[in-house]
């Protein structure tokens, strides 16, 4: 079978594509058909099953903020996923409460997805409601004013544009909030 591809270009083409498409189809088209949590928005009303809440699509302002997050490449240094690792749930928890693990149903409306691959800065999957607007303003103007040793870039062109700044913070405050994971709805604004 493979020997024939030595002399027949057409046969080589067919064989390369067939072999490629077996895995290609089984790992891209089939998985979302098998695992329906990829497409079903998160909703839980039963505290016994974990944090309650409901995933809602972003508002216009929040989407504008998300576009800024995308434009500035924030996602190159900040992931948005609490992995199934104890260290992730502990490190990205808040005031002694562990962060819930990220599940596919929390990201159904995300386009483009912002899972990220690199944590030059901390994960932001549950950052919504951790810091207030004034903190973000100071931090975006110069992160080192609040966090000594930080290597995050400064973003004066965002802070100096009230509309952009408002949108970006509005988006960030939504992150991880579909799951109402903090006791007594204790979130900063």
């Amino acid at each position: 079978m493979f020997k024939k591809a030595d002399t027949s270009a057409l046969w080589a083409v067919i064989l390369s594509l067939v072999l490629f498409f077996v895995g290609g189809i089984l790992t891209t088209i089939v998985p979302p058909m098998v695992d329906h949590t990829w497409a079903k928005p998160f909703e839980n009303n039963d505290p016994a099953k974990g944090p309650t809440g409901k995933l809602v699509p972003l508002s216009e302002l929040e989407l504008k903020g998300r576009a800024i997050y995308q434009r500035e490449g924030c996602w190159y240094c900040h992931t948005q996923q609490i992995r199934t690792l104890l260290a992730d749930t502990k490190r990205y928890g808040w005031k002694g409460v562990d962060a819930p693990i990220s599940t596919p149903d929390e990201f159904v409306y995300d386009n483009p997805h912002m899972f990220g691959t690199k944590r030059t800065g901390p994960d932001l999957a549950r950052v919504g409601g951790k810091y207030d607007t004034q903190w973000h303003r100071t931090h975006f103007r110069n992160p080192r004013d609040l966090v000594k040793g930080s290597i995050m870039p400064t973003y004066p062109w965002i802070v100096n544009d009230p509309k952009e700044f408002e949108a970006l913070v509005a988006y960030m405050q939504t992150l991880g909030r579909a799951k109402d994971w903090r006791p007594n709805h204790d979130y900063e604004k």
């Binding site: 594509l17 995308q70 490449g73």
Partner: protein, 464 residues
């Protein structure tokens, strides 16, 4: 079978048999070398920003988040893929014993490719970023990439269809495989993603990201290694059969592994397990290829002393072996828990793209440029220096980031250490990375200068 390459080339090399124009190859190579240099400056700049975060911090289009995609896309598409295409235009007609199907089409493809790269520079600096890794380019540029790829593929396939020798050398399969797989992988990562969201989109994105390396740069890189190693060492390939094992197992195994970029992440556990299993199976095609290329050099290693292309080629094979050992190991859940998302990963990725595949392309360029312009290489000693700069700078870069990344991963897993402390701890690592980057960039400058000086030089010496 073993002396296939020498048979295939015997007629092509005979005086007066076929005169290859090679204009398209020249256009691709000259522009790719120029981008290697230009994007190298961007690379240095972003490495510097890790050490001096306020550097040019008030200019939006020079901020890290704008420059990083330019560095990645510029190196992948402006330098490496363009160089690979230029070298394919050199290699394929020679292995087929015919002229390139259409020199004019090849030149048009090179011109279009330059338009795409320049468009990418403007768009990415302006912040027009689609938000997918490796798929940052805006939609209209994606369309142009597809057009250029079809033109390139058409030229190669028509040349193969007209070949004089019925038996196809392994380089031809790898090049054809690259063209076919790239088409579907690129469409998945840049077009299919448009119709999806969330985890589903991420899965397609990683399929593309992983296979951009595995089914674009790997096959075209190996195509070049399979051609240039026997050619530069003037020795037959060790085993045709083993090259078949490597090629067909690559065709089957590679595409399954995309989800290993989301180990422990919000994606089905069973899909992660499939990705891990196939990632480990990648050792089969890799070791088949590496063994074959090493065995080809048996009794010929002494040639490395004199030949710069062979130095690059065989170091590239070693880096390929190492990077493809790391890859399967990273995919294991326990290892992933430590190294994933850390600075280890850029260390690993640079060893693949710079250490292995760029080394193959550099070797090919050093080998063909004197032949293309029919002149002796401007300076052998400078070429040798460029090798050592890229080699030592490269190792400094990879090893430092592995150590730093591993350490970072351990710190992250001790959650009582505040995150900022893990940032401050890596400062020395980033300083060494920057210094290694300066060395690598020096190597790139020497390489680019040597190539340009050979092409533009007045020495009308005939190539050795």
């Amino acid at each position: 079978m073993q002396d296939q390459i020498s048979r295939a080339e015997a007629i092509g090399a005979a005086p007066g048999a076929i005169i290859h124009e090679d204009t398209a190859a020249k256009w691709f190579l000259v522009s790719s070398v120029a981008y290697f240099f230009i994007v190298g400056i961007i690379a240095l700049l972003i490495a510097a920003k890790f050490v001096w975060p306020d550097l040019m911090g008030t200019i939006s289009w020079l901020s890290y988040g704008r420059l990083r995609p330019l560095h990645v896309n510029g190196m992948l598409f402006g330098w490496l893929l363009a160089a690979d295409m230029g070298l394919a235009f050199y290699v394929i007609p020679r292995l087929c014993g015919v002229k390139l199907w259409s020199e004019k089409l090849g030149m048009a493809t090179a011109a279009l490719w330059n338009i795409i790269v320049l468009g990418a520079v403007v768009c990415l600096l302006a912040g027009f970023n689609q938000g997918w890794e490796y798929g940052e380019l805006p939609f209209f540029l994606d369309v142009l990439v597809v057009v250029a790829w079809i033109l390139f593929g058409l030229n190669v396939f028509m040349t193969v269809a007209q070949r004089k020798y019925q038996a196809m050398y392994v380089t031809i399969w790898y090049t054809m495989g690259c063209i076919l797989w790239t088409a579907f992988v690129y469409l998945t990562g840049n077009f299919a993603t448009l119709f999806t969201t969330g985890t589903n989109q991420a899965n397609l994105n990683w399929m593309y990201v992983h296979n951009a390396v595995g089914l674009i740069f790997t096959p075209i890189g190996l195509a070049l290694a399979y051609y240039f190693i026997p050619r530069a060492a003037n020795t037959p390939l060790h085993s045709h059969k083993l090259s078949m094992v490597g090629f067909w197992s690559l065709a089957f195994v590679y595409v399954w592994t995309g989800a290993h970029h989301m180990i422990h992440g919000p994606i089905s556990q069973w899909l992660q397990t499939i990705a891990i299993a196939f990632s480990v199976m990648l050792l089969i095609p890799v070791w088949a290829v590496v063994y074959n290329l090493f065995a080809t050099m048996k009794g010929q290693w002494h040639q490395l002393r004199e030949s710069v292309p062979l130095k690059f080629l065989m170091s590239g094979v070693v880096f390929y072996l190492l990077t493809c050992f790391q890859g399967p190991m990273h995919s294991l859940r326990t290892v992933s828990a430590i190294v994933s998302k850390t600075d280890w990963i850029p260390g690993h990725a640079h060893m693949a793209v710079l250490g292995a595949f760029s080394f193959f392309a550099i070797a090919g360029t050093y080998f063909v440029v004197p032949k293309l312009w029919n002149k002796a290489l401007h300076s052998q000693s400078l070429a040798n220096w460029s090798y050592w700069m890229l080699m030592i700078g490269g190792i400094g870069f990879y090893v430092t980031l592995w150590l730093g990344g591993f350490w970072q991963g351990w710190q992250w897993n001790t959650w009582t250490i505040p995150f900022i402390d893990t940032v401050v701890a890596l400062k020395p690592i980033w300083i060494v990375r920057f210094v290694s980057g300066v060395m690598m960039f020096t190597g790139i400058v020497m390489f680019a200068y040597n190539v340009m000086a050979t092409a533009l030089g007045t020495h009308e010496e005939s190539a050795a």
